[in-house]
Subunit: 458 residues, 2 copies
């Protein structure tokens, strides 16, 4: 990176910031935050404890606080706002862009966001509520209302004068497109600002606009947005309501970022982290409770599947060697099934498969499951045979793993589709469902096969 | 979505496309592909088998093929190109943008990409090789060389004439910035095209440019790029070499997309899918082999940890109830550890933690591990106690789970940092390492504690 002052040591900055908080020196605190590289600002805020953070944002003006919020991750911003009193939070929230404001309030508990909305002007509060209501992953949730529009009858001369008079704002906002509207805010066309270069001064907005532009509606999905952006190479798309009135603009950047966030969320959920982002700077109690809430569901499912073993204790007592293979069956089937879960989630997120295409997935996964099951079963079967010198033990163990791998791969492939078709979140529930089903089947198979062939095993 | 023709049924389109391929009718094939919605193009190509795909791209002209490639996912494009002969692939690859061309060739096997590079003109091949050499996740790997530059001495008049004469190209490329260069291509400034609106015709590029612009180097990381884009609200950043010569431009869009791809890759790797993207349209043999390669490492690790059980068969034989708890210990410790893996991977990807901060992670995770371990251990310990009416069994089982959860959470938190510090990929190896360590420790703990307290258990 270029044009940088010599980098300041992170630890020194942190010390400067905490000292400034201790001595209530808002100027020194703000300068520590501003001296940091952009990514270090997030890290600085991360390393303060909750008390220090609350005190810091008590010292800063709303404008300064909003500036800091723009430089930290959105989930850090939500934590900060949640820690403040509503009357302290509202003036900061007021200064954010309409889309950021709605995103941030949606991250808070309902009671907290309501309390902040009550402190805002009626007009801002109403707009924010409308934005908050759009479903995640749609154009409505990503759009912002800070756009530039001109009446169709305005001349290029008038538009240029308008731009000249507001050039500071235009340059700061990085305006690329203006929107041409008719009566009752109906969208008529899009006007790329740079097209003004090629226009005559007495032409009107209607003359030089791109008429009948591609538009989206508030419920258009992010995936459809990405496809449109890719096809047409636009930077932004106008969002209209059922009467074709312009209600907002959605940026390509916001749409791609939203896809990134949902990939990250899926990763966290698949690994057993529910709800909001977890950072190690959060209070221990909060982190522990959130992780436990998922673990406690899992342990109940685990006990249910392990009860299959309890019912077959006699078999196990007769052939104790089977106990060695129970965790292997459980682990390996889980791994094989998780691979299929990942492929299904990927195909769903790329829209390459319809949640109803159970047949296709079943055929593709059952054949693959049989091949991989046969390979793994053969390996583990031979191992069991040679270890105890008993070919029937090999057949029982290998057969159980082969069959259960096939089941696990099919279940893993189908569960995300099923959850999606039922409008549930595949990332959160696929893992526990898969594990429970495959553990139960696996234990039943190995112990059931063993009790059927018990005379040959002992 | 607006301005759409009535949607054509996907199955009809697929039928039309396969019929066109069977009858070698390139016109009909292309029209089927063009009639599809953008996202359906990818799905159409996905549903063809390898033979049909090869035949299709044999029918289409290089221009038509390149158009189709732009509308499918990049990993589909790589599969298509890999299936073609180098002399058929090269004219298509030639038509792609410099960054897309390098990305696509990097997805291929080395021998395949070399064969295609040999078919390209020397100049294009040399540029492509240079682009291919940049490390993934850096500005070099994301930049493109199709930018507009003007000499510093050119007047606004001359620049406007140049733009007017090439307006078609400028509008198609969606050019927002031009770059002002001095002797030996040294970058002097950036010229937002729309700034020409506010300029006098006899000013020079040097007069109206933004001098000393923010630049990045080819090895600047995506995370640093994102931070700069966020801080300055730029759409693109110039990439310069050590002598400040302009070598390419990196877009905000490309940078965000790259972050999204790496989040997705991490998800796939954590779920046990190595290497390239897997789609169900790929040949069964390829899918099966790829999944098996990861499973076969895992099964060996599984056997190693299960051997701990084999060495304690006597204890197990004496207290058969323990066998019920072995898979529970293994599963629950794995779950707890995976949560910590996810938090570490997230903090690493957000740059909120340095891979060397083992102490911080250890303190944060060990305290959390003790709390959650105590909760889970208490639950499972009581269950064991009440089931068999033996308090010592409860202490053994509960104690083992409590201790092993603490270990698993610490290991899960630390392994991604350790792998990152060793320049290894945390997503691929964290899971298997975690499972092996926690299974071995868990089995040792429960069976070890049980053999120590054997007199009280039987």
């Amino acid at each position: 990176m270029d044009n940088e002052a010599p980098p300041i040591n992170f630890d020194d900055l942190l010390e400067q910031l905490t000292a400034a908080i201790d001595t209530s020196d808002s100027g020194k605190a703000m300068s520590a935050l501003q001296e940091a590289d952009v990514d270090d600002t997030a890290k600085l805020v991360d390393r303060l404890d909750a008390d220090q953070r609350t005190k810091l944002f008590g010292l800063l003006s709303p404008e300064q606080s909003a500036e800091v919020l723009e430089h930290v991750y959105y989930f850090q911003g939500a934590d900060i706002i949640e820690e403040l009193k509503p009357d302290a939070a509202a003036p900061i929230v007021r200064l954010l862009d309409s889309d950021d404001r709605a995103d941030l309030l949606n991250e808070l508990k309902d009671s907290d966001s309501e309390a902040i909305l009550d402190e805002l002007d009626d007009k801002v509060a109403a707009e924010t509520r409308r934005f908050m209501a759009y479903k995640e992953g749609t154009a409505g949730a990503l759009m912002y209302s800070e756009f530039v529009s001109f009446k169709a009858s305005m001349t290029v001369e008038q538009i240029l004068n308008d731009i000249q008079s507001k050039r500071e704002k235009y340059i700061e906002y990085g305006v690329q497109y203006a929107y041409v509207i008719g009566a009752r805010n109906v969208l008529l066309g899009v006007l790329p600002v740079r097209n003004l270069l090629f226009a005559l001064r007495d032409q009107t907005a209607a003359d030089i606009m791109i008429p009948d532009p591609i538009t989206v509606e508030a419920d258009t999905s992010v995936l459809d947005l990405e496809n449109l952006f890719e096809q047409y190479n636009f930077l932004g798309l106008p969002v209209v309501d059922a009467r074709k009135r312009l209600i907002g603009i959605v940026d390509r950047e916001a749409s791609t970022e939203s896809l990134q966030e949902s990939a990250t969320e899926d990763l966290l959920k698949l690994q057993g982290l529910m709800g909001k982002e977890e950072l190690r700077s959060m209070p221990l109690g909060v982190r522990s409770r959130r992780r436990l809430s998922w673990l406690s569901i899992n342990i109940v499912l685990n006990i249910i599947s392990a009860s299959v073993i309890a019912f077959h204790q006699d078999t196990l007592e007769a052939v104790i060697a089977l106990a060695v293979f129970l965790p292997i069956i459980s682990d390996m089937s889980g791994c094989s099934g998780n691979q299929a879960v990942a492929v299904s989630m990927r195909e769903l997120s790329l829209d390459l498969i319809n949640p109803k295409e159970f047949g296709r997935v079943f055929i593709k996964e059952s054949t693959l499951g049989m091949i991989n099951g046969a390979c793994l079963g053969l390996l583990i079967g031979c191992l069991a045979w040679f270890w105890k010198g008993n070919v029937v033990l090999g057949l029982v163990v290998g057969g159980a793993l082969a069959l259960n791998t096939t089941i696990a791969v099919c279940v893993g492939g189908l569960v995300p589709l099923l959850l999606k078709a039922m409008k549930q979140d595949p990332a959160l529930a696929s893992g526990p469902i898969l594990t429970t089903v495959t553990d139960m089947c696996g234990f039943l198979l190995i112990l059931g096969l063993a009790s059927l062939s018990l005379p040959y095993l002992v």
